[in-house]
């Protein structure tokens, strides 16, 4: 009997993934978020908050590993891609259950991808390249492209505006029932109070070790509650007092307070993303390249970042579109990265025949660091000789105004470093700023069509060089994000979209 028991235990040790050993299931955590997500349908929004919450309930065919490489999630393996890069054969994992108990088939996947192409922003971005999506068996499907389009897998792997797989009978828009395949399922949503997720017992994790968003996803916690706390100070106090187990988005100046807390500790995501000044290339003074160059030369990124983030630990003065550590990192073209030289900028303005019209800069105090950067930028632009009209709006107003090319010259936003450069907003011709000219297409189109990663990395050097020569956007630098985790929480990975599978808590 003892021998049998020892055998069973040994077998269990071999079968169970090493990371899961010793992780006792249980516990409930409160995750403080910056607000209520506008929807629980991750196809319908590109908002990070939507991705953070819904990635626990819905899954995509592919996802990203620790190094932002695409790996399979609901797909059994990476797809088989034809030599011309136009045909993607995808095999699904077997016996995957939806939260309603039904089994996922290729019919669900095909219908879901079609829904994604028709309603999701990223799906619409891919749709013009896609000829057909069809089932080739119960658990296999084929995507046929009109022309090769390398970013397709990254788009399919993204967790917001996401190509989630839904049961084909539940594809209403707006989504009426929240039924996915994820390790957690929705139990209750009380808007502006909490979103309660509970473990989905029918979930079968992948067999690989956890790797970024991929590999085995184990629902160790019984419950995850996402609590909207829009006030930044209240989030901080909740973290310090121990009310929240994980607290998203805390201002960098509170780092020392968090460090001194007995209940929580800081989680620094380094780097999180980049603030950018997008220039209007459709209408107004910034349609002229010389004035865009003048802005590039006038601005001093270090002063702007210092004003915005205070602590130098929280930013890096870096012109590369992808920081070191990303396969896309290159120094091509960054000699044009802002030198903070208003005099030289003034000369460029004279050559360009600047007529003294004010530069209309749209910014929002909903992201305080945008506003602080805008103030410093305005001073540098004034020193160069620009008249500046700084227009401060709430974010909703700004997003509406920026859609109208007649209303602005520069707007300020920020974004993470997407796994594929094609997912950057400015890569799309229709993104506000409307960078849509021959120089861009000459650099971007070969990059989008090339299926081989190594060749794409080389081609991206040319994209970045063109980006700096054309100056459609001024990249200010890199910044880090600060969050907090309770000292009782284990195995949380710093991420732009923090996730809580494979996470455990001492609070039972």
């Amino acid at each position: 009997m003892r021998k049998k028991l020892a055998f069973l235990m040994a077998t269990a040790l071999i079968v169970a993934p090493s990371w899961a050993i010793g992780q006792e299931k249980g516990g409930v955590i409160d995750v403080a978020t910056i607000g209520e997500p506008p929807t629980l349908d991750p196809m319908a929004s590109t908002a990070d908050l939507v991705g953070i919450v819904t990635q626990h309930m819905f899954e995509t065919l592919f996802t990203f590993d620790d190094e932002w490489k695409v790996i399979p999630l609901l797909a059994e393996t990476m797809p088989s891609i034809s030599d011309d890069g136009k045909t993607y054969d995808i095999t699904l994992r077997q016996e995957i259950k939806f939260h309603d108990g039904s089994t996922m088939t290729s019919a669900d996947a095909v219908a879901s991808i079609q829904r994604w192409m028709s309603i999701a922003s990223r799906g619409k971005q891919a749709a013009p390249y896609i000829a057909t999506v069809e089932a080739t068996g119960d658990t296999s499907l084929r995507i046929t492209l009109k022309t090769a389009y390398a970013p397709l897998l990254s788009l399919l792997a993204f967790n917001n505006s996401a190509a989630i797989i839904l049961p084909k009978g539940n594809l209403a828009d707006p989504l009426t029932e929240i039924i996915g395949t994820g390790p957690y399922m929705l139990k209750e949503r009380k808007a502006d109070q909490y979103i309660q997720l509970v473990r989905f017992d029918g979930y079968t994790p992948r067999s690989e070790e956890p790797d970024g968003f991929g590999g085995a996803r184990e629902a160790i916690l019984d419950e995850i509650r996402f609590v909207p706390v829009p006030d930044a100070n209240t989030r901080l106090q909740g973290a310090i007092s121990g009310q929240f187990d994980y607290t998203d988005s805390i201002a960098p100046e509170n780092f020392d307070q968090l460090k001194a807390s007995t209940e929580s500790q800081p989680v620094v995501l380094k780097p999180f993303g980049a603030p950018v000044f997008v220039m209007n290339m459709k209408e107004g003074m910034m349609t002229g390249k010389a004035l865009r160059h003048a802005v590039q030369v006038a601005l001093n990124p270090e002063d702007m970042l210092l004003a915005a983030f205070g602590n130098p630990e929280f930013f890096a003065v870096d012109g590369a579109l992808y920081p070191e550590g990303y396969v896309w990192h290159t120094k091509e073209g960054i000699e044009r990265y802002g030198s903070g030289d208003p005099e030289a900028a003034g000369e460029l303005m004279q050559e360009a025949g600047y007529d003294g019209k004010p530069v209309r800069i749209l910014t929002s105090r909903q992201y305080e660091f945008h506003y602080k950067m805008a103030q410093v930028a305005a001073e540098y632009l004034k020193a160069a000789g620009f008249q500046v009209d700084l227009q401060v709006f709430d974010w909703a107003t700004l997003t509406q105004r920026r859609a109208d090319p007649a209303q602005w010259d520069i707007f300020i936003t920020h974004g993470p470093f997407p796994a594929d450069p094609a997912l950057n907003g400015w890569m799309s011709d229709s993104y506000p700023g409307w960078w849509d000219n021959d120089a861009k297409h000459a650099a971007v189109e070969p990059f989008l069509a090339e299926p081989d990663l190594q060749k794409r990395i080389e081609l991206f050097g040319m994209v970045q060089k063109t980006f700096y020569e054309e100056a459609p956007v001024f990249k200010v630098g890199d910044f880090n994000a600060l969050s907090a985790e309770a000292k009782t929480l284990h195995n949380v990975k710093a991420s732009p979209w923090p996730y809580f599978w494979n996470v455990s808590t001492d609070k039972k």
Partner: protein
């Protein structure tokens, strides 16, 4: 009397109609777009236009207005764009925290302001009167949300006696939910007490100098009876007015305090709806708030009848 009530009701309908129209226009002319907020930062102009069309926001203002009035006449406040539930349901869900926050704040404010206000008037010029007047001035000049932050820092973070924010998690009991209201109620109650205290004191001072008080004293009536029965009863009308107005302000959502403490009340709903440009919720919530203001004012006028037999309508 009945004629007066009917007149007031007719007036209320006119006020409501004006509120509906003004709010509808203000909300629509304010820049910002629910479709852009909903679709997120990377949405294209075409995505936004598609969603606007689906939400009916691409129709002319007149068509939208007539459609909205038609809905209201059927008793339908519309559907929240973001919450995907009827506006009436959203308001009902938020009513509990706001209602009890109002009650607790008023109780705290009254418990502080009425006895001190009466005593300060009775002992006019005394040390207690001066201290009460000074403290009331101080309390009136402190924003409730700032006081809330101080209370939060001390009682929730340092002493860990109260939660920092929220209204209890899933399955929380009524008692737990009320416990979450304590700090914001104290913050609002303390600040509201200042105004009530000053009105109580002033009103009592007016009455305490009247002839009938002197007569009561001359007849040898016990001092406590003179103050609490004769003087207070006659001083109640202005006190009731200020209590009613305070209640109306609180019930319409102590906007900033609810936001600071993460309370899912009416004020919080309005703030979120404005930031998201959830037009139906903004319109519905402001309509209900206006109705509550009007009804509370009406109720106060009716209470005058009970308190002062000389009042006739």
């Amino acid at each position: 009397m009945i004629r007066y009530i009917l007149q007031r009701l007719a007036g209320m309908i006119v006020v409501m109609f004006l509120v509906v129209t003004i709010v509808f226009v203000i909300v629509r002319v304010t820049p910002g777009d629910p479709a852009a907020v909903m679709l997120g930062p990377d949405a294209t102009a075409q995505d936004i236009a598609d969603l606007r069309s689906r939400l009916g926001l691409d129709r002319t203002l007149v068509v939208q207005y007539l459609f909205y009035i038609g809905q209201l006449l059927k008793g339908d406040l519309g559907q929240s764009i973001f919450l995907n539930i009827p506006v009436g349901t959203a308001l009902l869900q938020r009513a509990e925290p706001t209602f009890f926050l109002t009650i607790f704040s008023l109780l705290i404010a009254s418990a502080i302001a009425l006895p001190i206000g009466i005593y300060a008037a009775y002992r006019r010029g005394s040390l207690i009167d001066q201290a009460a007047t000074t403290l009331a001035m101080l309390a009136a000049s402190i924003p409730s949300f700032w006081l809330g932050l101080i209370l939060m820092q001390f009682f929730a973070v340092r002493l860990n006696l109260f939660p920092v924010s929220g209204y209890g998690g899933p399955g929380s009991s009524f008692g737990e939910r009320m416990y979450h209201l304590m700090l914001p109620a104290v913050a609002l109650g303390l600040v509201s007490s200042a105004l009530i205290l000053r009105f109580t004191r002033a009103s009592m001072l007016d009455v305490l100098g009247d002839d009938y008080i002197r007569t009561a004293r001359a007849k040898g009536m016990v001092e406590r009876k003179v103050v609490l029965k004769h003087a207070l009863k006659n001083a109640l009308i202005p006190i009731l007015t200020v209590l009613g107005l305070t209640a109306a302000v609180l019930v319409s959502g102590a906007v900033v305090t609810e936001t600071v403490f993460g309370l899912p009340g009416i004020g919080n709903l309005v703030v979120s709806a404005v930031l998201r440009r959830d037009y139906p919720v903004i319109q519905g919530a402001l309509l209900v708030i206006a109705a509550l203001y009007v009804l509370i004012n009406f109720a106060i006028d009716m209470l005058y009848l009970l308190v002062d037999p000389r009042v006739r309508y």
